[in-house]
């Protein structure tokens, strides 16, 4: 079996940039992508989206199109429809990258060997655990935006957008530009946040980015009902969403709604990194876990790197720069370029990164979700897969449960197919709250391979050596 120089997981801006750079430096490079075409979530459908969408998808989206041609020319191998589900570092320092690919009727697993691995797994929606968030008709706003990008789908009927963050404003503007009526925009950004955030980025206050963002907000305000400082939120309905109940100030209101789009930012997808043994650290500003990385994206596992939002949320432009920086580090580590060439090459990308990060502290502070929307109580579902309530977790935490992994054993939270992606942060923060500990001390749910489900047949299709057979066959010889 041939050993790749570098295997890259995820074809968003970080993965595309890293793969392009590695392949251009002569490294044998494979890019594994769960989707059918490059772009990741942020640039989903970038090679197929209709130019007719250009106007309301916005110029930031079309930036993604510039990443694809250099990637295609670079000589990197692109593997679409491939789900990487396990990653094992071997004694000789190489990695076994186990993945499934092939058409739905005939998927099979292989383990490829690579000298270095770059995880560019990006971000996922932050959980938004409010009463009724499991009802059909309640969708993540980021998901609704993907429907727009790939399928030209916009809401019909009574739609309510609720939450906070740039993506929610952008989606509202995109809908309004496309002529879609929005019943209400419920802004959950807590009162006083702007005053807290503004001093964090004096330069950013004058930048075109902020002006652009404010334009967007003003545009939405002129055309839709925006309710500020919403402090409580619940979706009501029997078998699907029928209404949204919310509180602002001392006022409580119920609005009929068929579609409720929720969003309160994104968090790093750390499943693969965590399962591979990378040390994770709690980021108190972003209220999430992220892999501990050095300035090149190197993790606590030698040879394993994380680039882009998977290493901490910083946005698409930063992801591109971080992808190139990691690419340079890998090219150096594998002996393709000298340390001096790496450092020289890095200068430009560090400047790009600094530029892209100018408003980050401001946005993080402004849009850190309110405690009430991160730490639910009562019957509100914390773990969607196994239907575990906040009250159950709080009670066991008060009774002295040791941590999230013990909680998982006790309640099955995080044992469903999503493996804790939509409850892990909630469980950690609920336990921290109940036990008066810091989330960093409570720790994270430990992700397990396969990080995405594979069928028993796919797993059985992996090559099995003598050693493995000997470990398994029960009858002694």
């Amino acid at each position: 079996m041939t050993t790749l120089d570098v295997a890259i997981v995820g074809a968003g801006p970080a993965g595309l940039a890293a793969a392009t750079l590695c392949a251009e430096r002569g490294l044998s490079t494979s890019l594994y992508d769960e989707h059918g075409g490059p772009g990741g979530q942020i640039y989903r459908g970038i090679t197929t989206a209709s130019r007719a969408r250009a106007e309301f998808l916005g110029e930031d989206y079309w930036r993604g199109a510039t990443l694809v041609p250099p990637f295609e020319r670079s000589g990197a191998r692109y593997v679409p429809g491939a789900t990487v589900w396990a990653l094992a570092r071997r004694a000789d320092g190489t990695f076994g990258v186990s993945q499934s690919a092939g058409p739905p009727t005939a998927r099979y697993a292989t383990t490829v060997e690579a000298r270095a691995v770059i995880l560019a797994t990006g971000a996922q929606e932050r959980p938004f655990p409010i009463p009724g968030w499991t009802l059909p008709g309640v969708l993540a706003a980021g998901g609704a935006q993907l429907l727009l990008k790939t399928s030209s789908l916009v809401p019909r009927g009574r739609v309510v957008l609720a939450g906070s963050g740039p993506l929610l404003w952008l989606l509202a503007a995109q809908y309004l530009r496309a002529g879609v009526a929005i019943a209400a925009f419920l802004d959950t950004t807590p009162r006083g946040r702007l005053a807290q955030a503004a001093p964090l980025a004096p330069g950013f206050m004058l930048s075109p980015y902020l002006a652009k963002g404010l334009d967007l907000v003003r545009f939405v305000r002129r055309r839709a009902r925006v309710v500020e400082y919403v402090t409580a939120l619940a979706v009501e309905g029997k078998d699907a969403a029928e209404a949204v109940r919310f509180r602002h100030g001392s006022h409580e209101e119920t609005l009929p709604a068929d579609l409720v789009l929720l969003h309160q930012g994104v968090v790093p997808d750390v499943q693969l990194a965590g399962a591979a043994g990378c040390a994770l650290a709690w980021n108190d500003v972003q209220a999430c876990f992220a892999p501990v990385v050095d300035v090149w994206g190197g993790t606590s596992v030698p040879g394993l790197y994380v680039a882009g939002d998977g290493a901490g949320i910083a946005g698409a432009e930063a992801a591109e720069a971080r992808g190139r920086l990691t690419g340079l580090a890998v090219a150096n580590a594998l002996g393709r370029i000298a340390g001096t060439a790496r450092d020289a090459g890095a200068q430009r990308h560090r400047r790009e990164l600094a530029q892209a990060l100018r408003g980050r502290a401001f946005l993080d502070a402004l849009y850190r979700p309110a405690d009430a929307f991160r730490m639910p109580h009562g019957d509100t579902v914390a773990c969607r897969c196994e239907e575990v309530s906040a009250a159950t977790i709080l009670q066991l935490a008060r009774d002295g449960c040791a941590g999230p992994n013990q909680m998982k054993a006790y309640t099955r939270c995080g044992m469903g197919p999503c493996q804790g992606r939509f409850c892990g942060l909630t469980v950690t923060e609920l336990m921290a709250q109940a036990q008066r500990r810091r989330p960093a001390d409570v720790g994270a749910l430990r992700a397990r391979f396969p990080v995405k489900p594979v069928t028993l047949g796919e797993l059985a299709s992996l090559p099995v050596g003598e050693d493995a057979l000997r470990a398994v066959v029960r009858s002694p010889d």
Binding site: A88, T111, A409, M415, G443, P450, L456, A460, V464, A468
Partner: protein
């Protein structure tokens, strides 16, 4: 930090320690169950959940590396001990339900070991027949041909040649068992202390001082049941506990509707509907990383037993470390140098939970060490007691 004092401290909040603590509750002693933090080599969370009798204590031993290295050891009292635990299990489950409201999903209407070739079946039949004939063995075993297995299980693959059936075998939900034992101890007034990994034990006249990650604990008696950690702690109270890790791996399939009426030795359906496939023995030290090739070998074998599982999804897998003594059998010990110190280590924490709670725990509370425990002493190994 203040020193807290207890009559008895049980070191180790896994299934062995928790079962012993549960057994000691209500005897009038002030109890503490000292548990590690959230991330530990916790065999109790990696458990497969069988209450397994067939073959236990069989003549050629059950620890493959012991066999390979030419140390096949028979321990017939282990067979009797296992069978006693299986008999006591309904009582344990009833106590847990009564005292904690937690149903541990006990089933004891038999279990099967399935063989995938005529050779495998012939070898298995010979060993299990010998085992059943051992003196004192009260459990019977039926050797089944393919038709016999097919009568009990649906949709068998063509490779299934037959199997062995034992009516005393069964299973339970091991995660709920752990939770119920902890809840039972707490409910009876015992202190369940998480984050209290014990780093040092200092024997003092009439008491023991335990240094933990979270302060000092004093106790009149101490029971060491910290799994692999016991190997280091036991010598501090004059007990030799030569246990070593043995890696097992488990696959979990998504929930499916109930299809499997009985547990198999390497495959069972939980009361939640998920399917566990457990197998593999490897000695890899404290390495508890998963090996995809081993998982693939397990998957392939399971798919040969039940081909219809091929398109069911694996949602999770894990490796856990068994606690293995040199012959694979349990070790129970008391300290002569430091009376009041005890230790227990074994790998079958679920099967033996009832024996540990209802028979072993009273031994730790008694004034004299029962003769019945003598076969499980570490003195059976060629080790010098470290005083």
């Amino acid at each position: 930090m203040t020193t807290r004092a207890y009559d008895v401290a049980i070191v180790g909040g896994g299934l062995v320690g928790a079962a012993i603590a549960f057994g000691l509750r209500g005897l009038g002693a002030k109890l503490a169950l000292l548990d590690e933090g959230d991330v530990a080599h916790r065999a109790a969370r990696g458990n497969f959940g069988l209450i397994w009798v067939q073959g236990k204590g069989r003549p050629e031993g059950e620890y493959r590396s012991a066999q390979r290295e030419g140390r096949p050891v028979s321990l017939p009292p282990y067979a009797a001990w296992t069978q006693r635990s299986a008999r006591e299990w309904p009582r344990l489950a009833a106590l847990l339900r009564e005292e904690t409201g937690i149903d541990v999903a006990l089933r004891q209407h038999g279990g099967l070991h399935v063989c995938l070739s005529p050779d495998e079946l012939a070898a298995r039949a010979q060993r299990l027949t010998q085992w059943a004939a051992q003196a004192g063995n009260e459990a019977g075993v039926d050797v089944l041909d393919r038709a016999g297995v097919a009568a009990r299980l649906p949709g068998l693959g063509p490779d299934v040649a037959g199997g062995t059936f034992c009516a005393q075998d069964g299973d339970c939900n091991p995660l709920r068992l752990l939770r119920a034992l902890h809840a039972g101890v707490a409910h009876a007034g015992g202190a369940v202390l998480a984050g209290h990994a014990v780093t040092r034990i200092e024997p003092a006249p009439g008491r023991f001082v335990l240094r933990t990650a979270h302060g000092t604990v004093e106790c009149g008696r101490v029971v060491l049941a910290a799994g692999l950690g016991t190997a280091k702690l036991a010598p501090m109270v004059g007990i030799a506990m030569p246990v070593a890790p043995n890696k097992g791996q488990v696959l979990v399939l998504e929930r499916v509707r109930p299809f499997l009426p009985l547990p198999l030795e390497t495959l069972r359906q939980t009361d939640d509907g998920t399917v566990l496939i457990g197998d593999a023995q490897q000695e890899r030290g404290l390495d508890d990383t998963l090996d995809p090739a081993v998982l693939a070998a397990m998957a392939a074998r399971a798919a040969r037993v039940f081909p219809f599982l091929r398109d069911v999804r694996v949602v999770r897998a894990w490796a856990a470390l068994r606690v293995m003594s040199p012959d694979g059998f349990p070790v129970y010990a008391h300290s002569s140098a430091h009376p009041g110190a005890y230790a227990a280590a074994c790998h079958s924490g679920v099967t033996l939970a009832a024996a540990h709670a209802l028979a072993l725990a009273p031994a730790f509370a008694a004034d004299a060490w029962p003769a019945a425990m003598q076969p499980f002493s570490p003195e059976r190994f060629d080790v010098r007691a470290i005083a």
